[in-house]
Amino acid sequence: MRVVRSILVLAALGVLACNAVAEAPAIGAAAPDFQLTALDGKAFSLSSAAKAHKAVVVMFISTQCQYSNAYNDRMKDMANAYASRGVQFVGINSNKTEDAAEVASHAKSHGHTFPIMKDPDNKVADLYDTRHTPTVYVVDSQGKLRYAGRIDDQTKAADVTSPDLKNALESLLANQPIAKTTTKAFGCSIKRV
């Protein structure tokens, strides 16, 4: 009996381990909900934010990754530009190598006033199977995932030919189908625990 119980416990642990990193959520499906505390101490819930806005842009960012840093100004500009149109931008830092103080200092120096959260034990990154920074997700007011991928196709703002996040938001706000719902770009692997 004890052996059977041990096997059951091990099997349960195995299931938990397998579930630790989920599969990437599908476009059109419910975006996995999460709650985190922002650096300013305020609680953030994705489902609540989605209900209160036309869209929420969840950005996985880094303080040290050059690819992520290449987008600092664009993150700030887009967050400011879309705030008045009912879109909330939030930043998530899942890197174990970048602590809260460093993330706060980075946000201040780059004028990032949108909510930024540390993701302890990279649980939210695992929930979305997010592998690198920067990666962005657009969640609509129904809590459905509508876009996943890059901000645009070029690290140099002047060379952008495909502003993918902007295109997705414009389509969403105009109640039009999003032409490109998933995109890819180079980035830095998230340093997981």
Binding site: Q64, C65, Q66, T97, R131, H132, T135, R150, D153, T155, T161, S162, T183, K184, A185, F186, G187, C188, S189, I190, K191
Partner: protein, 174 residues
């Protein structure tokens, strides 16, 4: 330019400038990069290695885990060179960081060839061409068997012990 009493210094100065220019030209011609590759040229490069086991590694100078695993890739190449392993590195650094790439390679002196991803185009096309499961994260490695068939991809840092075991298995299969 003529400065009374300083003619020798001026001509000496010109010679030094000329030497510096020549030396920088020579350094440029001694690039440690094997060349630039787009997705198509990369496929051809891997195909040319048919008969060897190939480990393709994508890296960047600013990518800390890439830098950390780089010396291990060199050791891996050296350990299994005679059995037929070919490690190939591909830098995905920004075009403006070519000097940083050269400096990094000069310091590392890798035992395997390194290319630079050709600038321009949409990175997504390059990423998809390498492997559809690749999201663009670095480092990223792809292992091919002697027939040139893709056997495995490694997202993030290479799990060295496991990867070497797999490489040994592929090298043993003739």
């Amino acid at each position: 330019m003529s400065v009374p009493g300083h003619g020798i210094w001026v001509s000496g100065g010109r010679a030094i400038v000329a030497l510096l220019v020549l030396s920088s030209l020579a350094a440029a011609s001694r690039s440690r990069l094997a060349g630039e590759l787009d997705a198509s040229a990369l496929k051809q490069t891997v195909a040319r290695e048919k008969g060897r086991v190939v480990l393709l590694n994508f890296w960047a100078t600013w990518c800390v885990p890439c830098r950390e695993e780089f010396p291990e890739l060199s050791k891996l190449q050296t350990r299994h060179q005679r059995e037929g392993l070919r490690v190939i590195g591909v830098s995905t650094d920004f075009p403006k960081e070519r000097a940083a790439v050269e400096k990094f390679l000069a310091g590392e002196r890798p035992s395997f060839p390194n290319y630079r991803k050709k600038s321009g185009g949409d990175d997504q096309d390059f990423i998809e061409a390498v492997d559809s499961s690749w999201g663009g994260e670095l480092p990223f490695s792809v292992l091919y068997d002697r027939a040139g068939k893709k056997v495995r991809v490694y997202s993030g840092s290479l799990p060295l012990a496991g990867a070497e075991k797999e490489i040994r298995r592929l090298l043993a299969a003739r």
